[in-house]
Subunit: 222 residues, 2 copies
């Protein structure tokens, strides 16, 4: 596949990585894989000139991002009519201890996605997006749940944002010191950081005899 | 101690938790403990009406937050003269699977801190802040490193933000279902999520005979 055929997000002054630009990626494959590697994002938006940074869950379909909450949510109300937003996902992969203070660093992977957020008004489309949310995290789960009521659906807002621009930035370099500093008697290392799942805690009020469904086997401690 | 004596951040329309306000905390003790429980934050700021959400490391001293980067950094240049910012720290503690889609949730802890960011201009004060950064993460480490050069210090920008308003929000509830739904034959559970350190990876170019310093013993795999 030639360079031109790799689908990529357009780059302009908003999303062009200037600092350490060799760590930048704009192709759909890298950006989407990173977006699919997490459940928590941080969304930035502006109300009366004041920036806000709200942590929330999100999900992706093609080049579209979604997040959800209360129909009365201030964040969602302020992101319902095409206001600009920036949705960021970041992993801290390692702390890096170098021989100089200056070269201490971190390995990381992150994506910043820019667009204009809109509320999903259509109830069927909203219901579909919420099924996507549940089944993305817990494949097949929706089928076993009691149906969502109209009242619940009304109480819920889902926001959607087409990714207009995006950038990924990845550092996976470990210790990098100035060449002359490798001769110093200073200990240096990389300390990996990972997110792991603990042992699942069944609800204390389960109906007797209910076993953990096989569809959750992807979620095991470690 | 009476209610009045608990040091708290002032509350106004910016930082008053409206959604699930019973999960809110404004006291210094809760906010600061949460800020001290992480290294990674997300900072929101505005350039030409466009919100940005940048992941970065940070540290705290009293009611002051700091973060750092290149003197040429766009984020830091745009947060150098008292521009408004929101610095957010969030932990996803557990995924919560309920009996209805609607009551699926997450346990979490987060802080949103608001203020106006300024560049530290004084070189000595900047150097002190950077020592604080290194030694907060790695106690006593600065003492064993080669000194930072003037050129390195010039290349580095440190931003400081007095916390003017802040809120913490904590969900630690596990599964909560509608009372009548507990009778449904639907499996429900809480899946804990944790950040853990992996085994440290010593730099491949260490001077022969260099042992891992005892000051790093706080960082062990698990
Ligand atoms: C876990 C973690 C910890 C970090 N810690 C620090 C730190 O302590 N100090 C520090 O200086 N930097 C840190 N970074 C990098 C930081 O996110 C910025 O890349 C850096 O500060 C440069 O910011 P800037 O505004 O000058 O970048 P610029 O290159 O000017 O930003 C321009 C555009 O590039 C893109 N971009 C910039 N940074 C990122 C990113 N991280 N991910 C995706 N797209 C990006 C965005 O589209 C942005 O609008 C960290 C990143 C991560 C993920
Ligand atoms: C890991 C994690 C995952 C989350 N997932 C979701 C989700 O999927 N859907 C959802 O609706 N919400 C989620 N939340 C909660 C979310 O951060 C907001 O609290 C919620 O969306 C309400 O937003 P709002 O703007 O309507 O809040 P409002 O209550 O109107 O916000 C007003 C002020 O309250 C304070 N505040 C609000 N939220 C927080 C917070 N989380 N931490 C500290 N202070 C806060 C801030 O000062 C804010 O400016 C999640 C939080 C975390 C930490
Ligand atoms: C434990 C201590 C430290 C850690 C964990 C750390 C971590 C980081 C990280 C993750 C970055 C981002 C790199 C990137 O964009 O890919 C960064 C950038 C930077 N750090 Fe640090 N740092 C530390 C201490 C210091 C100190 C003490 C100085 C100065 C003396 C310094 C100077 C810089 C500079 C100048 C940049 C910008 C690099 C660039 O954008 O070109 N850091 N740091
Ligand atoms: C796996 C699926 C889901 C997860 C992990 C999840 C998680 C969350 C979280 C963490 C919150 C924030 C709660 C708080 O502020 O303390 C939230 C809020 C909310 N969710 Fe979900 N959710 C899921 C699915 C759904 C579905 C399918 C619906 C609707 C049918 C829904 C409706 C709501 C509503 C209305 C709120 C706002 C609560 C309030 O602010 O009062 N959620 N969700």
């Amino acid at each position: 596949m030639s360079e031109q055929q790799v689908a990529s997000y357009p780059v302009d002054d908003t999303n062009r990585v200037k600092r350490r630009h060799q760590r930048a990626h704009y192709d759909h494959a890298t950006v989407h894989a990173l977006l699919d590697s997490a459940a928590l994002c941080h969304v930035s938006y502006v109300i009366d000139g004041q920036p806000y940074c709200t942590p929330t869950l999100y999900w992706r379909e093609g080049t579209t991002l979604y997040w959800h909450g209360s129909s009365a949510s201030r964040m969602l109300r302020n992101l319902s009519e095409g206001q600009p937003a920036c949705l960021t996902v970041a992993h801290l992969d390692a702390l890096v201890l170098a021989r100089s203070a200056f070269h201490h660093s971190a390995d990381y992977r992150s994506v910043m996605a820019f667009g204009h957020a809109r509320l999903i008004e259509d109830q069927a489309e909203k219901a579909r997006a919420l099924v996507m949310m549940v089944d993305r995290l817990f494949p097949g789960r929706t089928a076993g749940l009691r149906p969502t009521t109209d009242q619940e659906l009304k109480a819920t807002a889902v926001v959607t944002m087409e990714i207009e621009k995006a950038s990924a930035k990845i550092r996976a370099a470990g210790v990098i010191d100035d060449e002359e500093d490798y001769a110093l008697p200073v200990y240096a290392e990389r300390i990996p950081v990972r997110s792991v799942l603990g042992a699942a805690e069944p609800c204390g009020r389960l109906m007797p005899g209910l076993a953990r469904p096989a569809t959750l086997s992807g979620f095991s401690a470690g």
